[in-house]
Symmetry: C2
């Protein structure tokens, strides 16, 4: 199929950029050194490409991602890098046939994991981002609680999410090292073989983790693209049709904030400037070198890949103008 036959708005994945990103990361963090984060792409078809280059351990943010990955036959080692208290979902993960490890950071989350039939856990440690995770000095106690409930404690995890977009590499390196000091201190109290941390922004600056949780690198977004040292290319775009061209200088694309994650701001457009997004429209000033006409197709570049993908039922893999595959976004919801 030609890309111009795809109804818009729709997500395109540029095959060349995607394969570049996957290969670059697999070279830097081969096999289980990377635990790809499924939350970024929510697609078992995309995940299968990562298995093909040697990553067979995966990280998930929701029970649905875990159960879906298990159902697709990629359940060799799935980490729910998040806390849940939901008995039915814990049970669904525990009986999914996969090896499932869950994060715990409190007595309540330990009790829920044990009651739900989960066998293995990581102690989630706060490394500076004000979110989940126990204090480093409390990690040993959480591990003991877990072991007392019969859970196997594989180690620790911590997410330095507040440092993902620190653009200066040296500053990022220093701040990540400090954050990871908290995690390794916790690890000394907890034991186990796993120190799981990191993300696309810190994949090369986090020297403490035994495995890096990165997913956005596969598709990338304009926020991560602003970081000068990341070797990944923008692969994900929103394919739109121009439905209006104003004589006063703006044009309108038929994809808007219901097709784009907006928490990192507006998308970008090549050669022009996005003015604002409405529910089903993006108003932009076009590239003056290439004034559009109604019916033209254009690409918008999302500012944040994860919530953008979650708004779509599928992504189309394209090589030039040829659609070579269509990946269902089959892990949406909770």
């Amino acid at each position: 199929m030609d890309v111009n036959e795809i109804p818009t708005p729709a997500l395109l994945v540029d095959a060349t950029a995607f394969e570049h990103n996957v290969a670059a990361m697999a070279a830097a963090l081969p096999g289980p050194r990377l635990r790809p984060h499924v939350k970024a792409f929510k697609s078992t078809a995309l995940a299968r490409r990562l298995v093909e280059v040697g990553h067979i351990t995966f990280c998930c943010a929701t029970p649905r991602e875990v159960v879906g990955m298990a159902g697709a036959g990629m359940g060799e080692d799935l980490l729910l890098a998040n806390e849940t208290l939901d008995p039915a979902r814990l049970h669904a993960m525990a009986t999914s046939g996969a090896r499932v490890t869950a994060a715990v950071d409190s007595e309540a989350t330990v009790d829920a994991a044990a009651a739900g039939g989960i066998g293995e856990v990581l102690v989630d440690v706060n490394v500076g981002l004000p979110r989940c995770g126990c204090a480093p000095e409390d990690a040993g106690r959480i591990a003991e609680l877990a072991r007392a409930k019969g859970l196997d404690v594989r180690g620790v995890m911590g997410y330095e999410g507040h440092l993902m977009n620190v653009s200066d590499q040296e500053e990022r390196f220093a701040r990540v090292a400090k954050a990871m000091g908290r995690l390794t201190a916790a690890h000394e109290l907890v034991g186990g073989e796993v120190i799981s941390a990191g993300g696309t922004g810190t994949y090369s600056t986090n020297a403490a983790a035994t495995e890096i949780q990165a997913g956005s690198y596969t598709l990338m977004d304009t926020a991560y693209a602003q970081m000068p040292d990341l070797p990944f290319q923008l692969a994900l775009s929103l394919w739109c049709t121009v439905i209006h061209v104003s004589p006063d200088g703006w044009a309108v694309a038929d994809g808007g904030l219901k097709a784009l994650g907006m928490d990192h701001g507006n998308p970008s457009v090549d050669g022009g400037e996005v003015l604002f997004c409405s529910d089903e429209h993006t108003t932009f000033t076009p590239d003056p070198e290439q004034p559009p006409t109604v019916g033209d197709r254009i690409r918008l570049w999302p500012a944040h890949v994860d919530p953008t993908v979650a708004l779509h039922e599928q992504m189309h893999l394209v090589e030039g103008d040829e659609v070579v595959d269509t990946w269902p976004v089959d892990l949406r919801g909770w």
Copy 2:
């Protein structure tokens, strides 16, 4: 079912607030004076409540909303208040069994509507929001083009979206009147019985329109709630479980930016303050009068209803702690 049995995150609709909103609008704009905008709620089950109070004409932003409303038996008079060039979707709407009217604002959109088998159109007029819509002085020409293609021109539409959140009522009234001056000028050139415009923010300040396109009033959001003269109550909340309570003063809910439209900013929490949203978390400082414990349920109040609903498969209608109905969000996508 008790509301505490619902897996989180999930959307709740407070039945009392919802029924208040529906009744208040039906009293102000009875029957076809209101053309409820389906884009706000994307649910045929919710739409059916509006039919029960007398609104049988509806407004849609996407072909899927039109086709879905037709399939659910609410196709008496459906307006696609948007331009599309997609032949397959135009054909699907035209053959849906519904009375379908589409917006047109250029020769290309007129040609597409005619080629797709659409029978009736409104000329979409720019009334000040830099988006779609022809210039008022061009509306007569567009109407002639449409009639020459055999299309029945029912009138004009224009959306004063840039004025929806002007909080001062007097200023809003004056600016809406000016915007509607553009629309009535266009209407004089176009003819027809319909002048379709407005939204929740201007439903009572738009005196020129023969029908108002409002949908958000049914569920409301914190952005619209800041407007002092709107008589509608917050009905939509994101039901979450507290999964972490930090000794340092914050707590974490298990719903984040993949469950909340973020283009209008963070959600709100009663008695506390939202610090930030992550993909699957919201970190907040809780109400000091009611410090939460892990496992508690809380409500987050979305800043923008339309994209929030579009992230969910269903909404639960609740009376107190009782879930009295569950509405599929069955009109998502395009």
